[in-house]
């Protein structure tokens, strides 16, 4: 059974304090790993898709990397507007269905 765990569960950073979020996965035949951002009361907003180990994607202050067992979301010099829950999801095997992790709640303090 495909599984996704994320750590830490919650993270508080000062503005400008860089850090990383972890997504560890167990999946048979990874088809894709996805990062989403979810603000309170809203739907998940797509950030990145990674398909193979070694792949990296960047967008503004965010950078996502992928290995065969985990993915990291690196946040460089975060701002308060980066505060949100960051969700990781995988699709494996012949499945179409995303398996989501529990998310990391990020708070960036001014």
């Amino acid at each position: 059974e495909d599984q996704v765990t994320q750590s830490p569960e919650a993270l508080r950073l000062q503005e400008g304090e860089s850090s990383s979020l972890n997504c560890s996965y167990t999946v048979s035949g990874l088809r894709g790993l996805f990062w989403y951002r979810q603000d309170p009361g809203k739907g998940p907003e797509f950030l990145f898709t990674l398909y193979s180990a070694g792949e990296e994607k960047e967008k503004e202050r965010l950078k996502a990397t992928l290995t065969k067992k985990e993915s990291f979301l690196h946040i460089t010099a975060p701002k308060p507007e980066d505060s949100a829950t960051y969700l990781c999801a995988v699709v494996g095997g012949d499945g179409q269905n995303f398996v989501f992790g529990p998310g990391t709640r990020l708070s960036v303090l001014p």
Partner: protein, 114 residues
């Protein structure tokens, strides 16, 4: 110009009632999905559907049924609502159905069963 939209945004109802949630996407995508996000914030797939195939998560009670009048719409019907059905329900869509395509989510419908 919302990509994936859902109505209603909020739904408060009594146990035993039957209700529907509507979803529409204007992205031209082939596949649509319903997810449930419970109080612990876990997002879990309920259904995925394209014009060829309906895939049901086996843990979903048969009181829940998706209905698709056309490729751009996937509605969720819930019969005999129970307290445990209270959650946020998200609709999503993706291009193609082979797996691995990015899914785009709607804003969610907050269902409260009293």
């Amino acid at each position: 110009d919302t990509a994936v939209s859902q109505t209603p945004k909020y739904l408060v109802t009594q146990m035993g009632n039957d209700k529907s949630i509507k979803c529409e996407q204007n992205l031209g995508h082939d596949t649509m999905y319903w997810y449930k996000q419970d109080s612990k914030k876990f997002l879990k797939i309920m259904f995925s559907y394209n014009n060829k195939e309906l895939i049901i998560n086996e843990t979903v009670p048969n009181r829940f049924s998706p209905k698709s009048p056309d490729k751009a719409h996937l509605n969720l019907h819930i019969n005999s609502l129970e307290l445990g059905d209270s959650a946020v329900y998200f609709c999503a869509s993706s291009q193609g159905g082979a797996g691995g395509e990015t899914q785009y989510f709607g804003p969610g419908t907050r269902l409260l069963v009293l």
